[in-house]
């Protein structure tokens, strides 16, 4: 955007303090009509705090500074207040009403499609269906949200913001759990909104997305604006440098698949039931991972990748055979899997990862207390020292082991969960979206950690939506479509296009088969 245009929405000298933590120290920010403005920064830089102020989650009075919409000073008392002023928001954390249908969730807090207080269920479903068609996603508006994966839940939240037809739209890491095709569909929607003159604020840790769609970028660092960059000067390396002050030599650390290593994990004919049309189960999956090998599961949202991991870990009922280090294991529950030396890092930190009622330290040791206790009593000193060691090893930034996990930044929460799964020194490590919502520098740390673990002989099976990351990191990729493995290739034998080709081919085949069956 080189034309000088008055900003549609602007914030001046915003400062916010959370009981001693200065999250924002005088930030100026603005966005013009028809512009997509990227808001970048490391975990904990203050991005979410800024957009939460801009749409009333942190209400007027809890911060200092002014906000202007259309050159009028506004102060929002609540997100509903912001919404009624045409300011829409997609939060970073998934906030859905699990017991309601998808359509009801999309229209939550804003029915108004009926007569007075009545709700026209059919109209809701129809409108929601149209928005999903727009976004190019296949979710039944009647389905219950409880059955959706976290990526699908995220899409529901995006749809919820879009039904408002906002003039200003803030998206806080909307793509963190989406994969390529869904991201593309979202981008085409955003481009159309842009053409309609909507002003957008876009937060992400995926720099290629910034290069693809954003017009301007503001980098926050420690609650201050570090730099503002115009589209002409976009450059991924420069972004990373201004966010973290570090230069990264190479994105993915080097790793070569071990030769002749023994098989650590062998899965044969694993079958897991899917649920309610939203997610494919795993169908007759067979795979092997050698000790020290990094294997990736690539595929689209809902293709059944997470279900494979859950089946192996005993989280969901599964049929089939699982061998660890050549020994047949009967895995009926997570505790069986753990006893067999398998560990799982789950995808949704809030729902399946963190214990918000326990402090940082206890979150790390939970489930790992056996070696830290004697006769059932936790040995306080030993626990504390191993917590500190784990926090140091993974560079978890928290004020103390007694700190609350609620306000750790996304990246630190993720490292904390890594510390938890690594404490048992697993032989097989299943990682579901290990870098979700994690900033570039921390991502790099996680890649290094993965490679280091592989170097120690741990077998890794990884699900990641960002194909570039999966392909760069893994020794071997298995492509999953509709719950089946449809392709397999080693490092250097294919890229993102190969994954997409295999998925499309598999889908075409399935449709052909279906057509045959029905004729």
């Amino acid at each position: 955007m080189s034309t000088v245009q008055a900003p549609l929405f602007s914030a001046t000298a915003i400062a916010k303090n959370f009981g001693g933590v200065q999250a924002l120290r005088g930030v100026d920010f603005d966005v013009t009509s028809g512009e997509i403005h990227a808001l970048l920064g490391q975990n904990g830089a203050g991005k979410s705090t800024l957009v939460k102020i801009l749409n009333g989650v942190h209400p007027a009075g809890s911060y200092t500074g002014t906000i202007q919409l259309d050159r009028r000073v506004v102060s929002f008392a609540s997100p509903a207040d912001a919404r009624s002023n045409g300011v829409g928001y997609v939060p970073q954390e998934i906030e859905v009403l699990e017991q309601l249908s998808v359509a009801e969730n999309v229209f939550a807090g804003r029915t108004g499609l009926g007569d007075g207080v009545l709700v026209h269920q059919r109209k809701l479903e129809q409108r929601a269906g149209e928005i999903f068609a727009d976004l190019g996603i296949d979710i039944n508006p009647k389905a219950y949200v409880a059955a959706l994966t976290s990526a699908q839940r995220h899409l529901v939240m995006i749809a919820r913001a879009l039904v408002l037809k906002p003039r200003v739209l803030m998206l806080d890491e909307p793509t963190a759990s989406l994969s390529g095709t869904e991201v593309d569909a979202l981008f085409s929607v955003l481009r159309r909104l842009k053409a309609q003159g909507v002003a957008m604020i876009y937060i992400t840790h995926r720099l290629p997305e910034v290069l693809a769609i954003c017009d301007r970028a503001t980098v926050l660092r420690d609650g201050q604006v570090a730099v503002r960059i115009a589209r002409e000067d976009f450059d991924a390396e420069a972004f990373i440098f201004s966010m973290s002050g570090q230069r990264l030599q190479r994105l993915f650390p080097e790793h070569a698949a071990p030769v002749g290593a023994p098989c650590a994990l062998e899965v044969r004919h694993l079958t897991v039931a899917g649920h309610s049309g939203a997610v494919h189960g795993a169908k007759d999956i067979s795979l092997r991972v050698a000790a020290g090998e990094i294997v990736g599961l690539a595929g689209l949202l809902g293709s059944g990748r997470s279900e494979i991991l859950h089946g192996i870990y005993g989280r969901v009922p599964a049929e089939g055979e699982i061998q660890v280090a050549g020994q047949l294991k009967s895995i009926k529950s997570p505790s069986d899997a753990r006893a067999a030396g398998i560990a799982l890092l789950t995808e949704d930190r809030k729902r399946d990862g963190l214990l918000f009622n326990l402090p940082v330290g206890a979150n790390i040791t939970i489930g790992n207390l056996a070696p830290l206790s004697r006769n059932g009593m936790v040995r306080g000193g030993l626990e504390r020292s191993s917590i500190l060691a784990a926090m140091r090893a993974l560079n978890v930034k928290a004020s103390s082991p007694q700190a609350s996990v609620t306000h750790l930044s996304g990246g630190n929460q993720q490292k904390l969960l890594f510390a938890r799964v690594l404490m048992r020194a697993p032989k097989v490590l299943l990682l579901d979206e290990p870098t979700k919502g994690v900033d570039a520098a921390t991502r790099h740390e996680i890649y290094r950690l993965v490679v280091e673990l592989a170097g120690k002989g741990v077998a890794l099976l990884i699900v990641a939506s960002e194909l570039e990351e999966l392909i760069g990191l893994c020794d071997r990729c298995l492509v999953v479509a509709d719950g089946r493995i449809v392709d397999e290739f080693g490092r250097g034998q294919g890229g993102e296009d190969r994954v997409l080709r295999s998925v499309t081919a598999a889908q075409a085949e399935r449709h052909a088969l279906a057509a045959q069956a029905s004729s």
Partner: protein, 336 residues
Amino acid sequence: MNSAAEVSSPPRDARSFRRRLIGFIAVGEVGVLAAMALLIAFFWLIEPAFLSERNIRAILNVVSFVGIIAIGQTILLVAGEFDLSVGSVAGLSAVVAAKLMTAAALPVTTGILGGIGVGALIGLLNGLIVVRLGIPAFIQTLGMLFIGQGLIQVVTGGYPVYPLPEAINTIGGTDLAFGLGWSFAFFIIAAIAADFVLRRTVLGRNLYATGGNKEVAHLVGIDTNAYKIGAFIVVGALSAIAGMFVMADLGSGGTSIGSGWELTVIAGVVVGGVSLFGGAGTVAGGVVGILMLKVVQSGLVVIGVNSNWQQIAVGVIMVMAVGLDIMRRRYFIAGA
């Protein structure tokens, strides 16, 4: 426990003891203790007889009965469930034990074990139904409250069981110290043990995890169902024990033992900072909460407030305590 000791005689020991005491009692409990100290001072200023030996003894005696149940309820709340049938279970166990000793002429020990067995069995039943059938604890234990009340009438035919064997009267009448008997001793020991279990053991930590997020606890290999059922059994057994202590105190298996306790117990532990949503609170807190509730009830009687107003005061205090707790958390987290 600590708190009770502190009320009657402030720690006179060295500074290190106090530091440890403060470290031992988390911030939440300190708030309740401070509020209680204020209330005690208030009642005492209006009516010095409030701190008479007799009144203190009366308060501690009542607290020992409901306090025993509060220990179990705290454990269960920490595990993410709760039990409304504790009063019925206390009454039913008492009359069953009484019948076993009298009508069935079984030895006293057998009668007592039978009473505890009834409590534990009902706890097991509550736990199994809640965990395996997925019926909400509210419904299941509310149902059990009525079932228990009905069974009390069935077992006794509506008449108190009387007289009881001499051994029971002895248990009820023993004066160990300061006019307090076995029920108080059991209460203190059970409270210290339970507090220790929740704070310091693997079992305790796993209970907090279970109540905090069942799915996460399951994923880290904790058998959450077993923990919940176990907590229900503990509540049942402790309710039975409390019921039998009241029976021993009264010297008869009365049909109204335990009636109305469920709400007192829940109100008390909630005042002491135990969360109704699971995963938060301590036994020390729950016990202090019950003590505070009883201090208020007794204080209002002593200063001569009409009994209707006493009920109102209890309600107001419970809501205020929870409100203050929420505000305190918000203050500490958001920093005003």
